[in-house]
Amino acid sequence: MSLEEKQVIKMQIRDGFIAGSPIVVGYLPIAIAYGVLAKQAGMTLMELTGMSLLVYAGAAQFMGAGMIGLGVSALEIIIATFVLNFRHFVMSLSFINQIKQYAMKWKFGLSLGLTDETFSVSSIYKKQGNQAYGYFFYGTIMLTSYLSWVLGSFLGGVLGDIIPQNLSQSMGVALYAMFIGLLIPSIRKYKRIAIISIAAMLINYIVSPYIGDGWGIVVGTVLGACIGIFVLEEEKL
């Protein structure tokens, strides 16, 4: 590998850290809160950290830990998790299609790290991904997010509530603000994107009281994107 190539890889990793940093800010307090809740639900430190290592899905872990505390059956918890996390299938389909040109091992490895947040950041920062060694950029985003989630859960389990309550409540807005911070520049560049996002918001808002938050996001995303088929112009994407 030439010196120049090493330089490119280094830059992709650095950009990955920068792009992933809002996810870390958002994940740490939520992961700590999860660790505290899971401990209260009667899980051991090993179990609650193990859940973060193996499941790696925020909302589902809160739900799972809560249901374990209530003594709900394993099958019910697993089915509820499937429903809640099925949205990642749609997101993964979109992301993998975007990185079609990558080798199989990268597609596989990166898809393991896909969450709402890593998907959002990765699909908005397409430019770095399409450059040489783009998988180092995405890999850095996935890995830092994963590690901050696992570390935060562990800390929550060991130390308990280390962040004052009103600060941790305030930090709960972090990921929503990040989603906004990712979406607005795209809309600024191409206004028609707003039609898709607003449609998805409204659809989710209308249907989620009836079918639950998990399916609400799936239906909002799938149908909102269908509107995109009609309003987006190929050459502007």
Binding site: A60, S111, V173, Y176, G181
Partner: protein, 98 residues
């Protein structure tokens, strides 16, 4: 023991939908409209992830989340970096809840 069965079950039903696309995308030639649909998904997903979830930041006071969201929209529109957008939204909620 039962908890580990639950964790492994949860892990499997979470990871399988995540990885399936990695194995199928190579073998399918999507028509143009499907490609367009796939390209629109991030924007739709962002919309669905933001709203109505943002209203639950302070569960009994939904307007606080909305206010922080408006701050985030304005700053992002002014091309402020996403990290500062995030920190400003956190500060907004913090100030509205003290």
């Amino acid at each position: 023991m039962m908890i580990w069965v639950i964790i492994i079950g949860m892990a499997l039903v979470t990871v399988i939908p995540r990885i399936i696309p990695a194995f199928i995308v190579d073998f399918i030639q999507f028509p143009d409209w499907v490609n367009k649909w796939l390209q629109a998904i991030p924007y739709a997903a962002l919309g669905a992830l933001i709203f109505p979830g943002i209203m639950t930041v302070v569960p009994d006071q939904p307007y606080i989340g909305v206010a922080a969201g408006i701050v985030a929209i304005l700053l992002a529109w002014l091309r402020i970096h996403v990290i500062l957008v995030v920190l400003s939204a956190i500060l907004t909620v913090f100030l509205l809840t003290i």
